[in-house]
């Protein structure tokens, strides 16, 4: 590929790196290193397809690859992590700002979901996509996506209720 295409690709990556990493971070339940790896893998695939998608929707392509990689990923937040009944990361008062604490709590809750449920919830509520769009992005039937989303939200509701009980 030519020099101009390389420069164009690098400009795109520099502009969208942060947004793609934020999506990756949610899709991996707050595992930033894993998110970075997935974003890099998605961008490598994007580079292979760059001549075809550069003029159309390169970000949509990268997000689709990222979401599918995350949904297939069986890794949890840390190696050797065991799911527990209670979310451990409850910020102490004055330790972190409220927003950061809330973010940490959210990521810890997301980390407890299976990858497909997490991907369905994140795409539906963070990306504001319809169920059919999520189904298309994940390459799954719409009924499956609906089921994953509903179960994921119910699980998150339960986790947050437990955390609030513990904190209260």
């Amino acid at each position: 590929m030519g020099r101009s295409q390389t420069e164009e690709f690098e400009r795109f990556v520099a502009a969208r790196w942060s947004a793609l990493n934020q999506l990756g971070s949610l899709l991996t339940g707050g595992d930033r290193q894993r998110a970075e790896d997935l974003v890099q893998e998605a961008l490598v695939k994007l580079w292979s397809a760059w001549p075809r998608v550069a003029d159309e929707a390169p970000e949509a392509y990268a997000r689709t690859v990222l979401a599918r990689l995350a949904a297939r990923s069986a890794r949890r937040r840390w190696w050797g992590e065991r799911p527990s009944e209670q979310v451990p990361e409850v910020a102490a008062v004055g330790d972190l700002s409220a927003s950061v604490a809330e973010r940490t709590k959210l990521e810890a809750a997301l980390a407890q979901l299976p990858p497909r449920q997490r991907a369905a919830v994140v795409l539906r509520y963070y990306q504001d996509m319809s169920e059919s769009q999520v189904a298309e992005m994940l390459g799954a039937p719409i009924g499956t996506v609906r089921s994953h989303t509903r179960r994921g939200v119910e699980r998150l509701r339960q986790i947050f209720a437990d955390v609030n009980e513990t904190a209260g």
């Binding site: 990556v13 942060s18 949610l26 809330e102 959210l106 919830v121 509520y125 939200v153």
Partner: protein, 128 residues
């Protein structure tokens, strides 16, 4: 959409600290691109080698197969058709002569031909 779902949306879309694309990210990205390209070239090369090897084996084996001819596994000659004499239900002879007459005439004909010759036989048959 209930309160919890709206709260979930708010938490998910909370603005985050931007993460800049650093030189180390750039280096890692291009290194990964090179690794992928090398792996792809290796895969294509391996596929080509396998295809060439398969063609070579085919070219070596094909002349031998042609020289050997059809071999024992070829189709054998067709079996000779068995001559089946169809029954002649319209033959009037058995129905017209009685079994007793037929037997006696045959016996007498055989006997007379052996003992006295053909003329005697024909006479005996016609007289009986």
């Amino acid at each position: 959409m209930d309160d919890f779902e709206q709260d979930l949306i708010r938490m998910l879309r909370q603005p985050q600290e931007p993460r800049p694309f650093e030189p180390r990210h750039r280096d890692q990205l291009w290194a990964a691109v090179r690794v992928r390209r090398r792996a792809r070239v290796r895969r294509i090369a391996a596929g080509s080698v396998i295809a060439v090897a398969a063609c070579a084996v085919g070219l070596v084996l094909l002349p031998r197969a042609v020289d050997a001819g059809p071999g024992p596994t070829g189709p054998g000659p067709d079996p000779a058709p068995t001559q089946v004499v169809p029954p002649t239900p319209t033959d009037p002879l058995p129905q017209q002569t009685s079994p007793g007459d037929s037997t006696s005439s045959t016996t007498s004909r055989a006997t007379t031909s052996n003992s006295f010759g053909a003329s005697t036989t024909s006479n005996s048959s016609s007289s009986g």
